[in-house]
């Protein structure tokens, strides 16, 4: 147990000592500012106001910083979030093999499975840190620009249309943050698993991203509607359900258990690969 703690501490130290780790944070901050500016453009703003008014509510009450923050979150986390998570996950093991540092670690009295577990925990911490940063910075920039107000949610693919007052809206927004983190963990776990294979770290990143993009493309093909529940990205998008008037806890629980099962399977598969792999110069 203490070896796992030491390894995890070391992994986090190495991860957050690299400039590259912060690329995702900086990119998201830039994108959030850009999207806020786009959302303030007259035609875009008018469209949003019309959608809210068509539902019979006042645009002034619901076109708030909270609504802008959620829009940014819904548009960016899946694509850009997945990209940075796959980048870090794809590197975390494969780069150590490529650079030769893993052989030095393997000279130490630590078990191989502990090394993989420590890296999986580091991936989880990075996922949590990135999602928390994205969510809270989107909220901060949204509130600074537009101020507090009601929350307007419109996610047609997930069948969510809801309006919440400021207080409950903020509570739902904060509740969504850990759920987004959990929904994106499979990206990190798949990238970690692929990085344990005998392939380049960049290939692991590209393969992981390709898998999720293909899954998402297939999910959105109308003819495959009946297969929708079987796509991973369907499960990953379930966090939006937290904005329904009545939160479907059972559905959220089911989807998150499903995702947890995938994460555990990927980590166990990564351990099995690393335990049986030869590491030579």
């Amino acid at each position: 147990m203490s070896a796992l703690l030491t390894l995890t501490r070391g992994e986090l130290f190495k991860l957050f000592a690299r400039k590259r780790t912060y690329l995702g944070f900086a990119a998201f901050l830039g994108l959030e500012i850009l999207l806020l500016w786009v959302l303030q453009l007259e035609p875009v703003r008018k469209n949003l106001e019309r959608t809210i008014e068509q539902a019979g509510y006042g645009a002034n009450d619901y076109l708030s910083g909270l609504t802008l923050a959620l829009l940014i979150l819904m548009w960016t986390t899946f694509l850009l979030g997945a990209l940075y998570l796959a980048l870090v996950g794809g590197d975390i093991f494969g780069k150590e093999v490529e650079d030769g540092t893993l052989r030095l670690i393997l000279c130490r009295p630590v078990e191989r499975y502990q090394i993989v577990l420590a890296k999986a925990i580091a991936c989880g911490v990075y996922t949590a840190a990135l999602i928390a940063f994205i969510s809270l910075s989107a909220l901060a920039t949204g509130l600074l620009r537009q101020g507090m107000g009601g929350l307007f949610v419109f996610a047609p693919l997930e069948g969510v249309f809801a309006l919440h007052d400021a207080g409950p809206g903020l509570a739902r927004y904060l509740l969504a943050i850990p759920l987004i983190g959990l929904s994106l963990l499979p990206v990190s776990c798949l990238a970690l698993f692929l990085s344990c294979l005998r392939i380049k770290p960049a290939a692991a990143t590209v393969l992981a991203l390709s898998f999720f993009f293909v899954d998402n493309i297939l999910r959105n093909i109308p003819y495959l509607e009946s297969l929708k529940p079987f796509f991973l990205t369907t499960r990953m998008s379930s966090w939006v359900q937290v904005f329904q008037y009545r939160i479907p806890w059972e559905l959220l629980m089911e989807n998150n258990l499903w995702l947890a099962g995938i994460n555990v399977t990927l980590i166990l598969a990564a351990i099995a690969i690393v335990e049986n792999r030869d590491f030579k110069s």
Binding site: G10, G100, T101, C107, D278, K280, S281
Partner: protein, 293 residues
């Protein structure tokens, strides 16, 4: 003591190491020799648990590396031909990280090892600013920090300048003499192995072709450098006296041969001996002799 028993390895069905036994005794510097691809790195990889053998087992102080890698490696340090570190971290942070995986080391010990390898002035700079020689010193420091009893060195002199090689040799001898450390040393630089190791193992295409005291094995026979004005006349005399050419004007005489009598016979045959210098057995001759045998 390090013991290899029946160690063999195949990669995708192709034999990389044929079964062999090997023992490295406590307190000795043991040399592992062989051409590129002979199986040296695979052997060391198996010893360190990086490579799973297809057959056999390795024990370090009675603990099987294959069955109990963590405990077996508790007192083992290693450095490799290309010293690899986290380039974006300082030498200091690299050392702290690697030693933490062995249970950590007190600040005094870290300072002592940094002093020993001569990295004092640059230890807080990032590794990406280090020369190859400095990286190799850092590699040695990370291996020595947990106070290992065994040190595995895979081509540690590769890329070092002559001064660096000399310093590395001095440090290794000091480690053996002062700390009683056991060193398993693989190198292409035979002159270096010759100065450090009494016992060696030679691998050739995955097969162990020699293991033991090379000077004893090479000792049967006298080595002499001969130069003739008329080599054609010398040839039958040398053949009659069972003298074997080692190439480059060097010859191996039978152990009981009389060098003066041979020179007299060569002179009588008209070979006209210009030079005759007795020579010491070299590891290079021994190694090449075994490889080409």
């Amino acid at each position: 003591m390090i013991v290899f028993r029946g160690i063999a390895k195949q990669f995708k069905g192709r034999p990389a190491l044929l079964p062999f036994d090997l023992e490295v005794r406590r307190g000795e510097i043991f040399g592992l020799l062989g051409h590129n691809g002979a199986g040296k790195s695979t052997t060391l990889g198996i010893l360190l648990g990086h490579v799973q053998p297809s057959a056999g087992e390795v024990w370090i102080d009675g603990l099987s590396v294959q069955r109990n890698r963590c405990r077996a490696l508790r007192n083992t340090g290693a450095i490799f031909e290309t010293p690899c570190f986290y380039e974006y971290l300082s030498g200091w942070h690299n050392l702290r990280y690697f030693v933490s995986l062995s249970g950590g080391a007190e600040a005094g010990r870290v300072a002592e090892v940094i002093e020993l390898v001569g990295l004092g002035g640059r230890i807080h700079e990032r590794v990406n600013t280090y020369s190859h020689g400095m990286r190799q010193r850092l590699a040695l420091a990370q291996a020595l920090l947990p106070r290992p009893d065994f040190l595995v060195l895979d081509e540690p002199n590769d890329g070092l300048d002559p001064e660096g090689i000399q310093e590395m040799r001095a440090i290794l001898l000091r480690l053996r003499d002062e700390s009683g450390m056991t060193l398993l040393f693989s190198s292409h630089i035979l002159s270096e192995v010759e100065q450090l190791c009494e016992r060696v193992a030679i691998l050739n295409q995955g097969r162990q072709v020699f293991c033991g005291r090379w000077q004893e094995a090479a000792g049967s026979g006298q080595r002499v450098r001969l130069k003739f004005r008329n080599p054609a006349a010398a040839a039958p005399v040398l053949e009659r006296a069972a003298v074997r050419s080692l190439g480059d004007g060097r010859y191996l005489l039978p152990e009981d041969a009389d060098l003066a009598a041979l020179i007299a016979a060569l002179a009588a045959a008209g070979a006209e001996v210009e030079e005759a210098f007795p020579q010491r057995a070299s590891l290079e001759d021994f190694y090449l002799g075994r490889i080409h045998a």
